[in-house]
Amino acid sequence: MAQDTEVDLAEPDRRPVLRPMSRWQRFRRDRFLLLLGLPGVLLVLLFQYVPLLGNVIAFKDYQPYLGIVESPWVGLDNFAIIFNGDPAFVNALTNTLIISFVQIVFVFPIPIALALLMNSLLSERIKRTVQSILYLPHFMSWVIVVALFQHMLGNAGLYNTWARANDFFEVNVIGDPDLFIALITSQVIWKDAGWGTIIFLAAISRVDIELFESVAVDGGGRIRQLWHVTLPAIRPVIILLLILKLGDVLTVGFEQIFLQQGPVGLQASEVLDTYVYNRGIVGGNWGTSAAVGLVKGLVGTVLVLGANKVAHLFGERGIYSSKKDL
């Protein structure tokens, strides 16, 4: 019945709406709108939902010349690689989790600190300039970022050439398997730390000034204002983003790592996504790599939903609010 009012608004006819229209009537009335949406719906179906069905090859022995439908079923054989602990798979999983963990510890706090720092700046002009500079790397592709790092920090790069000439310490972070995690973490910081401040700056800018004034009236200086007003104001955002990050632990920068696997080798750099690529598309083991991809996707979805649930438990909105949005 709730639809009556809506129908009323969208209804070209002038006759008063006494009864809800039938499905067919509504279809005829909305046919132009539906036609507009059709290309989008078809693309979503074809490129988002059809590949979902394609995951059946995780349960098949996929042979390219037979096609998906004709290839024989093999039950859960392809998943054995996960449950039997294939060394390459375990290595990829371990690397993924370590990199995720390192990035949560070292990358996550930096935008918060940077936002507080930028927020405390004296001059509005300087603040805007700093923002413009620090946001820029976010828009660069990973190929550009990796290229920049190689040519700046590589053995023959800008920094090391300068350091050798001036008897300064050299940095040999490129191509060293032991330092691979440090390298990719610093790249993530360089690219996205500035960008990450936006959400915190937005949260700070929404704080009611009277709160700051109250602290000042009570004799509290800048530190107390920070502790009692600014930090509590951004706490919900921090918790929310942290939880979301935890929901994403199985996904670490794919293009970034893929680009740099050559010099450091797979032992140090293989993560789940590159494992699926190397095993499936390079190696031709379609079934098993699809199985790994499928499990990763499922666990990832469960983690994101779980994280969202936890966010709700913390009293936050989470990403998928509720039916209200529809």
Partner: protein, 336 residues
């Protein structure tokens, strides 16, 4: 959600000249000013600690930290541009890279744009970016518009169909097999079609259409406008800004897209710029150029010139992006 999306654009509105020593300044003046109407948020924040100037040591440390942050971002770009313009003598003297070209020349650019692999890749990238962003903003805006009238036929199922895609990703292997099944391997369409729709953008765009007052549409209808007329003459002009922003963002995405080309493009002559960049600048494959009768520019200059070519379009649209992105990020952080 509305409160987050409508009040938090740290855009370049109301720049207030700064003076004296408050320590914390908001970027907006539109915040509630209950006690002191007419006094901006910024002025009030300045006034709070106005009597006590901040500690000079603290200020110094802050300044140094932020200066270093900015230097770390700027120096690579500066070095890249300078090296691409520098000549062989200076590059050899500096050992590879220079921070400022003594005799700037465009030899390197002339060399790469003489019709070789870089020229072709640049054209391919431009084509894919233009076609991709144009098509995607069209499809997204139309679908968002058709979803912007709750109560239409199939509204809820279609909206759920779109929203649901935010929750999962089918995975690389099935996507690859689909493209192969469609016969799109080694076709430019493989780089354009799969990323044409984005649930996130559809939702943002739809929210934008929903905010448009219904009265305008009703008035047009009373004047006898058809649905097509309402869309073309009323909704599109009203949402020009939003459409432009989405188109720009998609343009950046298409320009930067790299991995889809690795997966789907086999022939070298169809490579987009990012693949060329990977091969010649990341993997350091030697670049062969034929410059009849000329001196071949130093390898570093050529590499850096390719890098600059891939940077420039983004830097060109960056001011426009920066004006608008904050809103999108804030919605994005809340919506996923």
């Amino acid at each position: 959600m509305a409160d987050l999306t409508t009040t938090t654009t740290p855009g370049p509105d109301t720049p207030t000249p700064s003076s004296g020593g408050g320590n914390r300044r908001g970027r907006r003046s539109g915040a509630p000013a209950k006690l002191l109407p007419g006094v901006s948020r910024q002025k009030r924040l300045q006034a709070i600690n106005g009597a006590k100037p901040p500690n000079p040591v603290v200020r110094g440390v802050k300044g140094i930290v932020l200066f270093l942050c900015c230097a770390v971002v700027i120096i690579p770009f500066l070095a890249v541009i300078s090296t691409s313009l520098a000549d062989q003598a200076q590059i050899s003297a500096a050992g590879g890279y220079v921070l400022w070209p003594d005799n700037p020349s465009f030899y390197a650019y002339e060399a790469i744009f003489r019709g070789g692999v870089v020229t072709r890749a640049t054209l391919v990238s431009i084509g894919i970016t233009l076609v991709g962003s144009g098509l995607s903003v069209t499809v997204v805006a139309l679908l968002a518009y058709s979803l912007s009238r709750p109560g239409t036929w199939g509204h809820k199922p279609i909206l759920l169909l779109v929203l649901f895609t935010m929750l999962f990703n089918a995975g690389m292997i099935p996507n690859y097999l689909l493209i192969r099944q469609l016969g799109l391997i080694d076709s430019y369409w493989a780089l354009i079609l799969p990323t044409l729709t984005s649930a996130f953008q559809i939702i943002i765009m739809r929210a934008f259409f929903l905010e448009t007052p219904k009265e305008i549409v009703e008035a047009a209808r009373i004047d006898g406008a058809s649905e097509l007329r309402i869309l073309v003459s009323i909704m599109l002009p009203l949402s020009k800004a939003a459409i432009a922003v989405i188109a720009l963002f998609n343009a950046v995405t298409y320009w930067n897209a790299f991995f889809n080309a690795v997966l789907y493009i086999n022939s070298t002559e169809k490579w987009p710029l990012q693949l060329v960049l990977r091969t010649y600048v990341v993997d350091n494959t030697a670049i062969g150029v034929d410059l009849p009768g000329d001196v071949v520019p130093p390898q570093q200059s050529l590499q850096m010139a390719i890098l600059v070519v891939s940077l420039v379009p983004i830097c060109l649209v960056y001011p426009f992006l920066q004006k608008h992105f904050a809103k999108g990020v804030v919605i994005g952080a809340v919506k996923g």
